[in-house]
């Protein structure tokens, strides 16, 4: 009972992870703030993979616009693929439960889809700081910089969206891997046994080449020639006296 509950809990955690990852796409992934010496907010910019940089200040705010970080875009195609994969994975875990499904071979694609999603998540977690933040002088994960010359305080930090992405990955990882190993592990066992038996049966059976037998008869019918006959190849055409049973 406890084992079944554990499985169920990890499955619920997986769905929660997918949900968090989806929600994270609409939240702030990075926050850049600038304060003056009196700790009054002068500039505020937050980054989201779908909307890009957004601010709480009005568009006419000169100081805020001047302090805007460099613009960069995570390809929207990647985000769309990510959302699709989240949907596919949710469908897989909710409707194609590895514990209920009898034909596990049919779940192979789903198992690979889950692994692909994991890779996408890991890519986001790694690529966002390395390929987008750091080259644009945006520090990761948190940094508080005091510029005494300019009398300003700069605050760099990852946002709730990125944090949710991290939690999503943690929640999704165990069950995705369990799903994959269960599907592939069970499948290979079943296949190896089936193949081994099928191969053995094939080896021990008398070979029957039906095409050859038909062709020989047709040749005989057409030319009246039975020199092509393959009857002799079959062991049964050399009848031996039936032996008495000597026991099994």
């Amino acid at each position: 009972m406890m084992i079944a509950n554990t499985r169920k809990q990890f499955r619920i955690l997986y769905v929660l992870g997918l949900l968090l990852s989806f929600v994270s796409l609409f939240l702030e992934w990075y926050i850049y703030q600038v304060y003056d010496s009196h700790l009054s907010l002068k500039s505020y910019w937050s980054y989201n993979p779908i909307t890009g940089w957004t601010t709480v200040f009005s568009e006419n705010s000169t100081v805020n616009n001047t302090l805007k970080p460099s613009t960069f875009h995570i390809p929207i195609t990647l985000t769309i693929i990510y959302i699709i994969m989240l949907a596919v994975s949710a469908y897989t875990v909710i409707f194609r439960d590895v514990e209920q499904y009898e034909e596990l071979e049919k779940l192979t694609i789903n198992a690979y889809a889950n692994i692909f999603l994991l890779m996408l998540m890991l890519f986001y977690i790694f690529a966002f700081p390395v390929f987008y933040l750091v080259p644009n002088d945006l520090y990761f994960p948190f940094l508080h910089v005091k510029d005494k010359d300019a009398d300003m305080v700069y605050q760099y930090s990852i946002g709730p969206g990125y944090c949710l992405q991290i939690f999503g990955f943690i929640f999704v990882f165990p069950y995705a891997l369990f799903y994959y190993y269960t599907v592939t592990g069970f499948q290979s066992q079943e296949h190896s046994a089936k193949n081994a038996v099928a191969q053995y049966v094939k080896d021990i059976q008398d070979p029957v080449d039906m095409d050859k037998l038909i062709a020989n008869e047709q040749l005989k019918l057409k030319f009246g020639d039975d020199s092509f006959d393959v009857l002799e190849e079959l062991e049964i055409f050399h009848p031996q006296p039936i032996k008495k049973r000597t026991g099994s």
Binding site: I3, T6, R7, E99, L122, F126, P129, V130, V134, P135, D137, Y139, F140, P141, L143, I166, F169, I170, F173, P174, Y175, L177, F178, Y181, T182, G185, F186, Q189, E190, S192, A193, K194, A196, V197, Y200, V201, K202, I204, Q205, D206, V208, M210, D211, L213, I214, E217, Q218, K220, L221, L231, L234, E235, I236, F237, P239, Q240, I242, K243, R245, S248
Partner: protein
């Protein structure tokens, strides 16, 4: 064997042989096909194939299959008249070197198709799963095992075992009756399960019922479950390693920050190492990964 491919070809061959009046070929082929089907049945049941080198007759092999099945399950797979029919055909074939009356040939083909309809459970798959269970040193116990252990503690488990064995035996006899009336794959599988459970109960000193085969899915899951926590450890390690790597790469871009952000590197890599050590310590042994 792919019967979908064989059937139309066999039909064509019968037509052509009818035209050439080569009934000898049809007779020989009928026996070859029957022999092949019986070999398949035998192998699936875990019985040796027909010994062709020793020219073991088909009807002898059928009798052997019957005797083994009767010995194990009190079940008769091939009725006496069927074996008799094959025997007559084989003896005639042997005596007249293939020249046998058409009625015998058609009877063998009829039997060939009857044999093909028998759905024999593949015991080799079950054996394979048994091997898995043994390798992983795992057993699936029914709730009865718990009761049985308690009873053992009270030194009276034998009585309970007897009751359970009796229950299995009754169900087995019922199955045998039904199977002897008409063969059914599912009933046969059930009977094998009963027999396995009964044997396990009789053999295992712990009084635990070892249920195998039909609970194959559970076996695999049982093996996988402890590893979910292991997977969680691997996931956490990967995550912290990647975060640590991102911070380390940052120091290449901004070397002046190295001292400042070294705390992050240390935390991320350190936590990553902690999780991988945890995994190696508690989850790696006996796991799938």
């Amino acid at each position: 064997m792919n019967y979908e491919l064989i059937d139309p070809k066999l039909k064509t061959l019968i037509k052509v042989c009818n035209q050439t009046h080569n009934y000898q070929k049809l007779a020989a082929l009928s026996l070859v096909l029957v022999g092949n089907v019986l070999d398949e049945i035998g192998v699936k049941l875990g019985i040796r194939p027909r010994d062709k080198d020793a020219h073991e007759a088909i009807f002898h092999y059928m009798t052997l299959l019957n005797s083994i099945l009767y010995h194990n399950f009190k079940m008769i797979l091939f009725q006496e008249d069927v074996i008799e029919s094959i025997k007559k055909t084989e003896l005639l074939f042997s005596k007249h070197k293939g020249n046998i009356p058409m009625e015998f040939i058609s009877q063998v083909y009829k039997l060939y198709y009857d044999f093909r309809k028998l759905e024999i459970p593949n015991l080799f798959e079950k054996l394979d799963l048994e091997a898995i269970a043994q390798n992983s040193e795992m057993r699936v116990y029914s709730f009865l095992s718990g009761i049985s252990e308690q009873v053992k503690r009270k030194k009276s488990d034998q009585k309970l075992k007897d009751v359970i064995i009796h229950g299995f035996k009754e169900q087995e006899i019922q199955m045998q009756k039904e199977l002897n009336e008409a063969y059914d794959k599912e009933k046969f599988e059930k009977m094998i399960t009963f027999k396995n459970a009964k044997v396990a109960l009789q053999q295992h000193a712990g009084g635990k019922i070892v249920l195998r085969g039909r609970l194959k899915d559970n076996l695999i899951y049982q093996r996988s479950i402890p590893n979910i926590f292991g997977y969680l450890m691997i996931g956490l390690f990967l995550l912290f390693f990647v975060l640590g790597l991102a911070v380390a790469i940052q120091t290449i871009y901004h070397p002046k920050l190295t001292a400042l952000i070294s705390i992050f590197s240390l935390t991320f890599f350190g936590t990553g190492c902690f999780f991988i050590m945890l995994y190696r310590q508690y989850f790696k042994k006996g796991g799938i990964v």
